[in-house]
């Protein structure tokens, strides 16, 4: 029963094409230097309002793909469309959450969270109001005047999240955002992600190393294989909505999907 619920595709092209894609990646390849093929002809579309995870062994090109979508890197070939328009660089409809937080150590939580708005030329009082709202949203109300070194790793990543939310982008691009935080904070973040997806109607592209996390939070999981980076499998985990974390760990669909992904990834790890 479980494998029937977890839709599995042998072909790299998903059978259920997103009906309303916000991002389309078309024939994207990336070659570093002369011979490091980080991505090889990637074709994929991301559904509006969904959370899609990129999963795969280290060095398979997850960060590269995310940065190309963000407009921080130019692909060697192919193009990325956001809402139908080709990407030439970073844009207001996309916001990046960095693995190493990328907070300015000399700036307060408030100034860090308002930085994206500052770059867009939003006047001070307006950007501080917005930033304050999102600082509260990520659970850091009262910490506005603190500096990054006064915060824990989890709190710092919340500031990075508030900064990305404050610019009100439609798509949040997250590169292993929770890899530097402890397990409990990670769980809390995962709950936050669900809420943000419901309340803020955001689309998430999410790079993770954790199979369990990917299965738990994702609408769709894109698995990449290394050397050259290609899409190896696309999985839509059919985890019942609103399941509590304790039941999840005993849920058959969850366990089978995790096992299926592990089997897929295993050959690259060994």
């Amino acid at each position: 029963m479980s494998l029937a619920l977890a839709k599995k595709y042998e072909e790299p092209t998903p059978v259920t094409k997103p009906s309303n894609p916000i991002i389309e990646v078309r024939g994207v390849s990336k070659v570093y230097g002369n011979d490091v093929v980080a991505l090889d002809n990637i074709n994929i579309a991301f559904e509006t309002g969904h959370l899609t995870s990129l999963l795969g062994p280290s060095g398979c090109g997850k960060t590269t793909l995310l940065k190309i979508v963000a407009g921080l890197l130019q692909p060697t070939a192919g193009e990325v469309l956001v809402k139908g328009k080709p990407v030439t660089g970073p844009g207001p409809e996309r916001a990046f959450v960095f693995q190493d937080f990328a907070l300015m150590p000399w700036a307060s939580v408030m100034d860090n969270a308002a930085f994206g708005l500052k770059m867009q030329g939003v006047p001070r009082s307006e950007r501080e109001d917005k930033a304050r709202h999102y600082i509260a949203e990520v659970g850091l109300a009262g910490f506005e005047k603190k500096y990054p070194h006064e915060l824990s790793g989890g709190m710092r990543q919340r500031v990075g999240l508030a900064r990305a939310l404050a610019v009100n982008a439609d798509v949040l691009l997250m590169d292993e955002p929770f890899s530097a935080v402890d397990e409990q904070t990670r769980r809390k973040f995962q709950e936050d992600l669900f809420r943000l997806r419901e309340v803020e109607k955001k689309t998430f592209l999410f790079v993770t190393h954790s199979i369990e996390e990917a299965v738990y939070v994702s609408d769709r999981i894109i698995m990449l294989s290394p050397r050259p980076g290609r899409i190896s499998e696309i999985i839509d985990p059919a985890i019942p909505k609103g399941i509590n974390p304790d039941d999840l760990r005993r849920n058959d669909v969850y366990l089978d999907t995790v096992e299926q992904i592990w089997q897929g990834i295993r050959k690259y790890v060994e």
Partner: protein, 275 residues
């Protein structure tokens, strides 16, 4: 002069999060500082009294010679003369050094043709070049300013360059991803992130500038402090000579320590990196 002083993002200044330990260590070091000065003065006095060298004055004679020169105005006048090339030279090094350092850090092409110049300047033994300077620029103010610049500029430029190179790339990416243009990336991210190390380079540059100005005043034409030292040596006023030398050494130490103190106030260690 061929060593290469490089600012390390070292631990400096008291930490806010552990006041008791660090303030206690501060008190301890102050005690040791005073004690070492007292011991030094006592040894000097003793060595002077043994008369092992006819030119070596006692500590007390040196101190009284110092006050004598302050009272008759010769010390003040000498400092005014010496400060002129020092201040002009340091101001020039500051502006040119920081601009060149930042430009080298940001652009490969500028780095390619500018960095070697500074490396050569830093490695070259200054004293050997001074005859060349006087040959071209004469024995006036210009040569002395140039001596200061030649010593302080490479340190300031190379440290600014390294500071810019050490800015975390993810911070610059972050600025870019929120649509900051190149100008914003430089002024909002690169300069603030590099400023602690740039300031440390500045402090080293000031220390080098002192060497430069004294060297120039001794080797080109005796003016200011250099003149005072040369004059008192020629008339065998050894206490006065020692007092002048000690005063310029102390002056340099105080100037550099003040910069270090400002540095610690401005850039608390915990604000330097997000780690």
């Amino acid at each position: 002069m061929s060593y290469s002083p490089t600012a390390q993002p070292a631990f400096a200044g008291p930490r806010r999060d552990a006041p008791t330990i660090w303030s206690r260590i501060g008190e301890v070091t102050l005690f040791w500082k005073i004690l070492s000065v007292v011991i030094f003065a006592a040894l000097w006095e003793y060595a002077g009294r043994t008369g092992f060298n006819f030119s070596f004055p006692t500590f007390s004679a040196t101190v009284s010679a110092f006050f004598e020169m302050v009272a008759d105005g010769s010390m003040g006048a000498a400092y005014l003369r010496t400060l002129e090339p020092l201040v002009i030279g340091l101001a020039f090094s500051l502006i040119v050094g920081i601009s060149a350092g930042v430009a080298m850090g940001l652009r490969r092409d500028v780095e390619w043709f500018t960095l070697p110049v500074f490396i050569v300047m830093q490695a070259a033994p200054m004293a050997a070049l001074i005859p060349l300077i006087t040959f071209v620029y004469g024995i006036g103010l210009a040569s002395k300013v140039l001596a200061v610049v030649m010593l302080s500029l490479p340190v300031i430029a190379i440290n600014s360059y390294k500071a810019v190179r050490n800015v975390p790339p993810s911070l610059v990416s972050m600025c870019h991803s929120f649509m900051g243009n190149r100008r914003q990336q430089i002024f909002q991210i690169v300069i603030p992130a590099a400023s602690p190390m740039m300031f440390a380079g500045l402090r080293l540059g000031v220390a080098e500038g002192f060497s430069g100005v004294v060297l120039a005043e001794l080797l080109i034409t005796p003016t200011g402090i250099g003149d005072l030292i040369t004059y008192h040596r020629s008339v065998a006023n050894f206490a006065h000579m020692y007092a002048t030398i000690a005063s310029i050494v102390l002056f340099a130490i105080i100037a550099v320590s003040t910069l270090q103190w400002i540095e610690a106030k401005l850039f608390r260690p915990e604000k330097r990196s997000s780690k």
